[in-house]
């Protein structure tokens, strides 16, 4: 029965050890997949390398499918899983800013740690930049609070919002992802290879 720690099956004092181990694998997988190279990642926007799309979608689908099978099998209590609350405005605004940051910097927070760990100086600068960004947010939080709290939908689920069942939504997601992978492979053949 899971999740193990919220249900006290594993003692919460193990929490940080587990965090460390999961982080270890997280870093290993990201780095091994090539998420430690900003130019490799930025390739998704210019069509010369679709690694971000492939890894990201495969991961989301694998865990979503696994999670819903676990739920069906009664192995996991979904009500104890943390679900990021939906605040429409702030998520869109934040997403747009992050999108710009992604194109400019070529990293996202997790991958910047990865790249910094193997010695990429730009990734280290990026990480420092993130600290500054968070600090700016902290300082201007009172001004942003209204936008930050706008349109709260709570733990909204995407399939509820679309009015279909989770199963059908997953099927659609899988088909879209497979289609995207296929299109990506076609595009990649056409685009001039970039050496990095």
């Amino acid at each position: 029965m899971g999740p193990l720690i919220p249900l006290n099956i594993i003692d919460p004092s193990w929490n940080y050890v587990i965090a460390l181990v999961i982080g270890l694998f997280f870093g290993f997988i990201l780095e091994s997949s090539g998420f430690s190279s900003s130019r490799k990642m930025a390739g998704v926007f210019y069509g010369y390398d679709f690694i971000v799309l492939k890894v990201f979608f495969t991961a989301a689908i694998t865990s979503a499918v696994g999670l819903f099978y676990f739920k069906y099998l009664g192995w996991i209590d979904m009500s104890l899983i943390y679900i990021n609350p939906t605040f429409v405005t702030s998520t869109i605004v934040g997403g747009v800013i992050m999108g710009l940051g992604f194109v400019m910097g070529g990293y996202c927070p997790g991958t910047s740690y990865c790249s910094a760990a193997i010695g990429k100086l730009d990734a280290m600068i990026f990480s420092v930049g993130m600290l500054v960004g968070v600090f700016i947010f902290g300082e201007f939080y009172p001004l942003l609070e209204e936008m930050y709290m706008a349109i709260p939908l709570g733990d909204a689920m995407v399939y509820d919002a679309l009015g279909i069942s989770a199963g059908w939504f997953l099927v659609i997601l899988i088909v879209v992802a497979v289609g995207a992978f296929y299109v990506a492979s076609l595009v990649q053949e056409k685009v001039k290879e970039v050496d990095y």
């Binding site: 919220p6 390398d49 696994g66 099998l73 009664g74 009500s79 990021n84 733990d155």
Partner: protein, 211 residues
């Protein structure tokens, strides 16, 4: 890309993933005992008359010895031997879903007979009765009052409400509680309640996650 040609480890990982799910599906199969009616149907069935039978009627048929009912005693065997309704069968409440018991219910489900459940009190019988009802056994009734009332049925005062109608209020609760209104100490009126019904769950136990 060259790395895309390396599919062996991917296939192995996918195979393991699928295998876990398949094994899970095979091991957590459907339960042996399944509900035959939905919760909504159970609620509707509870609203209909004919779920209960008065101990007087049971006593009558027992006296007449006409075997109209198959009477089942849900108490423990120890209590059962100390005294029971003549002709009753002992199936302790915690054993009604064992195979022999279910076979017994199954056998009698198709017959025209009526099964009557009783326990020490009706409260104790109502849960097991409702479980069986939800398993689709429709010819089962619970006896009002239970053994405690049945065993003293002869001393029933006909001018009073029958003692087995336990769900009838015995007191005027409002009047009993109302005397406080003359006092300064307030706080127990029906109208005073405050009800806040949240629409979404507030998950208290959940971990704080995300970024």
């Amino acid at each position: 890309m060259k790395e895309q040609d390396k599919t062996k480890s991917l296939s192995v990982a996918a195979l393991i993933f699928v295998a876990i799910i398949v094994v899970g599906l095979l091991t957590t199969g459907k339960p042996d005992i399944a509900y035959k009616i939905t919760p909504q149907q159970s609620i509707e069935a509870l609203g209909k008359p004919g779920n209960e039978i008065s101990p007087l009627e049971v006593a009558k048929t027992v006296k007449a010895n006409d075997n109209k009912f198959i009477i089942i005693d849900l108490r423990s065997p120890y209590e059962f031997v100390k005294g029971n309704i003549p002709g009753s069968i002992n199936i302790p409440a915690n054993r009604i879903l064992e195979k022999e018991s279910l076979d017994f219910f199954e056998k009698n489900a198709t017959s025209n007979s009526t099964l009557v459940l009783y326990d020490a009190t009706q409260s104790l019988a109502t849960g097991p009765w409702l479980v069986l009802k939800q398993l689709g056994y429709d010819n089962i009734k619970m006896m009002q009052g239970g053994w405690k009332i049945y065993s003293g049925i002869d001393s029933q005062d006909p001018s009073q409400n029958p003692a087995w109608l336990v769900e009838i209020p015995k007191y005027d609760f409002a009047a009993l509680s109302a005397s406080k209104e003359t006092n300064a100490n307030k706080g127990n009126q029906a109208g005073q309640k405050e009800i806040i019904v949240p629409q979404r769950k507030v998950k208290a136990k959940k971990v704080e996650g995300g970024c």
